[in-house]
């Protein structure tokens, strides 16, 4: 027999006393843990998605839109830029590398990104099977795409025009899956990667709809052949014939993702691009910070609501402990007559308070995880993005600290009748 055991028996004797306090505390813990985890996952997801990208160069327009479209792949692009012009940026010695991306189409809502072999490297993505696209009309797919569409190596599919899943029309060209990537938990997972040439090809004859079907096929074959060589050249030696060079001049891309060698570049290059070219440069980190300022308001609001509920739960726990102390006054006085001292009775009440806190914590964390599971499910459906499902224990620790503090307050007030207890009076008024 010890104080813990007696507390436990008290707790189990009339669990309804503490039920309400436990319930309200669980809700506030669920909200606190949930919103922190959500906020953290959200930020982590976005920050993760940046990979090594320090700057994005695209058509003029909203810089946030440019970042959302080209880095997070959720918004529409601002427009197109001339590939040759964008390449000029790479001449600056402070630029480490620039990865061009070119949008156009989607397959079942997953965006098809025309780019180079350097793109997966931005996200440290490695191939699970197959290879990177070498020929036009070949694609490599991210892990989420593979899982959701069921596409395998060797499968072919038709892309639909535009970036939205519905609407637009299907292209006749068949794209062939040649590679599947490991999960990275970054945007890479939900992208279909192909060479720039594929996007150019698909849209090249889109713009010449007057071709007869036969002519188109012939043209396409020729074109493929030629572009295939060209593609090879581009990857290899950067040697171009006059003719190809001319064609290259007209080639457009959506944007160029740039990594810097030197952080000093952040200060000079974006400005010079914005002032001296008809392209715009946006800094993803900076734009995302701006985005957080908007989402931060919601997070803060929910956090404050959670704090308010926490205080209410603290009051409820106080009331239930206090009522318990008052209602069991005779039992407590009886224990004093058995030789229990004030401190032992205080411990008894404190243990009950902590039992409430521990149970509420368990329920609260469980509730938050269930909630987040559903929210992440929704995000996965809507944005085709899997979220990392992990609970940061630093956030948990902070919540534990807050809850312990609140429960200590509740206990401190509830034990007042014990400290002021008049044993004789209670025992002589027995009924």
């Amino acid at each position: 027999m010890n104080i813990w055991k007696i507390s436990l028996k008290n707790f189990r004797y009339k669990p309804l006393y503490t039920f309400l306090g436990t319930l309200i505390l669980s809700v506030s813990i669920a909200l606190l843990v949930g919103i922190q985890q959500l906020d953290k996952s959200f930020r982590q997801q976005l920050d993760n998605s940046l990979g090594d990208i320090d700057m994005v160069v695209g058509a003029k327009g909203s810089p946030l839109q440019l970042v959302l479209a080209s880095v997070l792949h959720i918004d529409n692009p601002t427009g197109n830029i001339i590939y040759e012009e964008a390449k000029n940026i790479l001449r600056n010695p402070m630029v480490e590398k620039g990865v061009p991306i070119s949008y156009g189409d989607n397959y079942m809502g997953y965006r098809i990104v025309g780019t180079t072999q350097e793109f997966p490297a931005l996200y440290n993505a490695t191939l699970k099977e197959g290879k990177f696209t070498e020929e036009p009309m070949e694609v490599a797919i991210g892990a989420t795409v593979a899982e959701a569409t069921g596409l395998k190596i060797g499968d072919t599919f038709q892309s639909s025009h535009g970036l939205a899943e519905t609407g637009g029309h299907a292209h006749n060209d068949l794209l062939k899956v040649v590679g599947i990537y490991h999960p990275t938990h970054k945007v890479m997972d939900r992208l279909i990667i192909t060479g720039l040439q594929t996007v150019w090809d698909v849209h090249h004859h889109e713009s010449e709809p007057s071709y007869s079907k036969e002519a188109e096929v012939v043209e396409k074959e020729n074109h493929h052949h030629k572009e295939g060589e060209h593609h090879h050249d581009e990857e290899g030696h950067e040697q171009e014939t006059e003719h190809e060079h001319h064609e290259e001049r007209d080639k457009e891309i959506t944007s160029m993702l740039i990594s810097f060698r030197n952080p000093m570049a952040l200060l000079t290059i974006p400005r010079s691009i914005n002032e001296n070219t008809n392209m715009q440069a946006a800094l993803p980190k900076f734009e995302l910070e701006r985005l957080y300022q908007f989402t931060g308001v919601g997070v803060k609001t929910i956090t404050w609501i959670a704090y308010a509920i926490l205080i209410i739960s603290c009051i409820t726990i106080f009331i239930s402990l206090y009522r318990m102390v008052r209602d069991r006054a005779f039992d407590l006085a009886l224990m004093r007559s058995y030789g229990a001292n004030t401190f032992q009775l205080i411990k008894m009440v404190a243990y009950e308070g902590f039992m409430i806190a521990i149970i509420a914590f368990g329920i609260g964390v469980l509730l938050s995880q269930i909630g987040i599971y559903f929210i992440f499910g929704m995000i996965t459906d809507q944005y085709k993005q899997k979220m990392p499902f992990e609970l940061g224990y630093q956030e948990l620790l902070q919540t534990v600290f807050l809850v312990v503090l609140m429960v200590l307050f509740a206990i401190a007030f509830a034990i007042y009748p014990i400290i002021k207890m008049n044993i004789s009076k209670i025992l002589s008024h027995e009924k």
């Binding site: 027999m1 028996k9 004797y13 224990m335 058995y338 004030t342 032992q344 027995e430």
Partner: protein, 209 residues
């Protein structure tokens, strides 16, 4: 052994001063304190139990002047040397019979042995309900549990406050016999305060307040 001298008590919010006649009890001697309600019987009992501190005079139990003890010492002294029997409330509601006796020994800082407790309950004829909660016991079982709670830790004094006032004649006698017998076997002084004249013949030593 109990010795009181010029014992006085005054409640904070009341001007009445209770003055009690001196009590001297040698080992194994019992005492019946009779008096009408409001005359201070329970006050005297609580003074002897160390639940109230006297405003004057002294109480010595086994040569310990209990009015001089600190609160904590008093709690400890009470736990080890005093056993209290109440009229209605006999034990902690949330605990079973067995757990109550264990708790009693725990607070008295005495060794807890389930076998010893079991034998003791057997002797008091309530062993069969040792796992029952207090509210599940019959009136007779409750009385016996009350006695068990006052004796289990081998106190120097057993103090009983109106132990029989809610009992019929038969049970009244049974309970008193058991109480006296138990106090006797444990070499404890038994002090009973009551207005119940039925138990007067059971005591040689009485005090009228």
């Amino acid at each position: 052994m109990i010795q009181t001298n010029n014992l006085k008590f005054k409640y904070d919010n009341d001007n009445t001063i209770f003055e009690f006649p001196d009590i001297t009890l040698s080992k194994n001697q019992n005492l019946l304190v009779l008096g009408k309600s409001g005359i201070g019987k329970t006050t005297l009992l609580h003074l002897l139990a160390g639940l109230l501190s006297p405003s004057g005079g002294s109480i010595e139990i086994d040569n310990v002047a209990i009015q001089k003890l600190s609160n904590k010492q008093l709690d400890r002294f009470r736990g080890q040397n005093i056993g209290l029997v109440f009229q209605n409330n006999h034990a902690v509601q949330s605990l079973s019979v067995m757990e109550n006796l264990e708790a009693r020994l725990f607070f008295a800082k005495k060794a807890i042995s389930k076998t010893v407790i079991n034998d003791f309950l057997e002797h008091l004829d309530i062993a069969e309900c040792k796992n029952k909660k207090v509210r599940e016991l019959s009136e007779g079982q409750l009385q016996r549990l009350g006695i068990a709670m006052s004796i289990v830790h081998h106190p120097q004094i057993v103090l009983a406050d109106e132990p029989t006032s809610s009992l019929d004649d038969t049970n009244c006698k049974k309970v008193m016999r058991l109480l006296i017998e138990q106090a006797d076997t444990n070499n404890a002084n038994l002090i009973v305060i009551t207005h119940d004249q039925r138990i007067k013949p059971l005591f040689n030593n009485t005090l009228e307040l």
